[in-house]
Symmetry: C2
Subunit: 300 residues, 2 copies
């Protein structure tokens, strides 16, 4: 199969003389000759993203083990000067923090997509490795997203462009879903890895039907009816990024997947009651699943 | 005038036995007796928020100067264990990072509002101290938001709740705007501080009409027509938080204001071309303005 470099969906990128990926603090002084960027990032195959810098640093350390990279030094944050996101590089794997929710993730996602274009990375795959609420599955379940729904329970993402509402489909790559399940899931893990639908909302409290935020104008019954409706639609986890992530990557033609661990079963309550130690153990689970997938992918 | 403790807009908060402000990693073991929380946070009068942890740390150091707090120690991040947001406390002022955009800000905003309620803080004022793009004003201009518009150019905020679209008005407190302008702005500063409308979008690239993102399906002319239309509506700066921030604080009855410095004049280009040193100098400008306002407020 021929290798492809992402074209993206902006013809201006081929005529702009230079570019500055502002939030990453990465300068592209000459878009016609990006040999410097290619040297630094051209070998990148998989871009892993996740909420916090500390978790992405841990993922980088874990990826060293998975890929057999012997390096006793501390992982270096390649965009520390930008102060907004952290990027760690382990051979062909980037581990990048995106913050909480679609707004912050979309900024770094646009810039990472431009980075892999300028670096001429081949067949890049973007992954999100996150935490989320669960629906009818025990806390600690790993969910690989099939269809991404927005807070309006539509399998799409809405975005205001030039003052008008634009609606785009929000599906992840079927290849990625199949391969993460095939290579990544292992019944011997002691936890479940399932493939199911995901709802991505713009608000953690009202947007996800919680009754314990600063504003709540619905009853417990309204909430449970809503969560049951989500469950009936095959939604098994709720986070704040899936529909934006699926729609942007689909639009630019880059394969992507979303692999999250549930920290709470929302059919049983709103509050996260697991201990920090349990949370930390749960957070390692998507690492395991994605680690096996990445290893297999790089052997092909 | 009698002092008021925020009631918020969720009756459940008065009957929940305990609460855990998850992203702040602050535990409220007994909502009926919050003396511990009151002791730690009850003196808070002003909650300052801004994008990055490093800038909020700098703001904390600056607030020490403004308030005459002599403390040679490093500011302590009170929610470091949460890994998502940073909180610094300088007497009656909190300095809190919120990340990029409404989704991440709304999470910490809900939890901060609950914190000031549990701590029984009186007459709390919430401020955002940010960076933004400018419209027809020179980079380095400080804009105090009047009306907040969303990406659809409406003076409101849209949120999906229980699967349905809910629309809420998005105005900041007239008191706060007037007082920030009266006490905070100083013609001798060498930069302009103006009061004007702000657009808050959910996307930095397409949402703000940039032509240099990973996706762009409009022409330079379409973009300029849009930006001119924004300008005609009195919008002088564009960021990613204003409409959510205005609508949530208005809904719960807490006074709030948004004070941002422009880093680029979008009528002249999309790329941020100022140097890191210039950016750092510009970022101090809202500190100056808000510092004077806070000092005056605390003297009253």
């Amino acid at each position: 199969m021929s290798k492809t470099i992402p074209k993206l969906a902006n013809p201006n990128l081929d005529t702009m003389p230079s570019d500055f990926l502002y939030h990453l603090d990465i300068n592209v002084p000459n878009t016609q000759d990006t040999s410097d960027i290619q040297q630094r990032f051209g070998d990148v195959r998989i871009v892993c993203t996740g909420g916090t810098a500390s978790r992405m640093r841990e993922l980088a350390l874990y990826m060293r083990k998975v890929l057999g990279v012997s390096d006793p030094s501390d992982p270096v944050d390649l965009c520390e000067r930008g102060h907004r996101y952290a990027i760690y590089k382990v051979g062909p794997v980037l581990c990048v923090s995106h913050g909480v929710g679609s707004s912050t993730f979309s900024v770094v996602l646009h810039e990472l997509l431009m980075l892999v274009k300028y670096a001429r990375c081949q067949d890049s795959i973007f992954l999100r490795i996150g935490t989320c609420g669960g629906l009818g599955v025990p806390p600690g379940t790993v969910v690989v997203t099939k269809d991404a729904f927005n807070g309006l329970l539509r399998n799409e993402h809405e975005i205001a462009i030039l003052g008008k509402l634009v609606v785009r489909p929000a599906q992840f790559s079927e290849d990625v879903i199949r391969n993460v399940m095939e290579y990544g899931a292992d019944p011997k893990d002691g936890f479940q890895t399932i493939s199911a639908n995901t709802m991505g909302t713009d608000c953690f409290y009202e947007g996800q039907g919680r009754t314990d935020g600063a504003i709540c104008e619905y009853t417990e019954k309204d909430k449970m009816d809503f969560l049951q409706k989500c469950h009936d639609m095959g939604i098994r986890n709720i986070e704040m990024e899936a529909s934006m992530f699926a729609s942007v990557t689909k639009k630019v033609g880059v394969k992507a997947g979303d692999v999250c661990v549930t920290l709470v079963n929302r059919l049983e309550g709103d509050q996260v009651t697991i201990t920090m130690d349990q949370k930390h153990e749960f957070e390692q689970r998507p690492f395991l699943v994605v680690g096996r997938y990445v290893k297999k992918l790089l052997q092909q």
